[in-house]
């Protein structure tokens, strides 16, 4: 199983050298994002199917998340799970920085200091997950996984 902490160390090592190149900084930001995306994927899979790590069903759950959908659902979760708000808000920025790092042909706007600060801010924001109660963890996992039902649908079914 991919360990998000290994990816985080790679992100820090890429941005670590004083003379880190633009390419290294871009890869650092991208790796940082994917470290936390993998953490979220595992959070969902373990939250829904605890103890099933590595099984085919668990892998399907793990692979279910999509990037923008995850950002939007995290924002939505932040409204009901206050402890997760800093991470929810930070994730939106992280996704955007990753997209720029991966795809924007313009000169990369983040300096080495910016990237290292982004890594520290992300690690700190990510500690929000450790503070969640068991019920909140389950709620977050389910909300990340399932689409929100529209009010119209709910009215039609009732």
């Amino acid at each position: 199983v991919i360990d998000y902490r290994d990816l985080l160390i790679v992100a820090a090592q890429l941005a670590g050298p004083q003379d880190a190149t633009e390419a290294a900084l871009r890869r650092s930001v991208s790796t940082l994002y994917y470290a936390y995306f993998h953490r979220l994927m595992r959070f969902v899979a373990d939250g829904i199917a605890p103890g099933a790590s590595g099984s085919p069903g668990w892998v399907k759950l793990y692979r279910f998340l999509e990037h923008r959908q995850t950002r939007d659902r995290l924002t939505s979760i932040g409204k009901t799970v206050p402890a997760l708000r800093p991470f929810s808000q930070h994730f939106a920025r992280l996704l955007e920085e990753r997209q720029r790092a991966d795809y924007d042909p313009a000169a990369f706007s983040l300096t080495r200091e910016d990237v290292l600060r982004l890594i520290r801010e992300t690690i700190d924001a990510g500690t929000a997950f450790d503070a969640l109660t068991k019920d909140e963890r389950f709620e977050v996992a389910v909300t990340l996984l399932l689409p929100e039902r529209k009010k119209d649908d709910l009215q039609r079914k009732s």
Binding site: A15, R85, Q89, Q99, R120, A125
Partner: protein, 116 residues
């Protein structure tokens, strides 16, 4: 990009009050900007300039982020608000604003303590 002129001095004041609560002083500058993200979606960026040294204390920054997130919930007119801290390197004391090799080692130590 266009500054949200009317969005406003009250929002800026409220964010500055949160910053003062955690950092003991106001920010160097706050700008509220209506922008688009890389996908072309509308976002509101709230850019906060701080002294470089202040941006090293990420747990305080996240407490600011936590309080600001509540503020944003109360202001639905802000589209996908993002609070972004920027370090003013020029104004930092000699070298203190820049991260050294030991800072990178500290980050790796932080990572090694994280739960799986």
């Amino acid at each position: 990009m266009a500054s949200i002129k009317q969005a406003d001095s009250s929002l800026v004041s409220e964010i500055d009050a949160i910053i003062k609560q955690y950092l003991g002083k106001k920010s160097r500058r706050i700008e509220v900007v209506a922008d688009t993200n890389f996908d072309g979606e509308s976002v509101t960026r709230i850019e906060v300039d701080l002294d470089a040294e202040e941006t090293h204390d990420v747990s305080r920054l996240n407490r600011i982020r936590q309080d600001a997130a509540q503020l944003f919930l109360d202001r639905p007119e802000l589209i996908a608000p993002q609070l972004i801290f920027r370090a003013n390197m020029k104004a930092s004391l000699s070298g203190k604003g820049h991260l050294s090799d030991s800072d990178v080692s500290d980050i790796i130590k932080m990572i090694e303590k994280l739960p799986a």
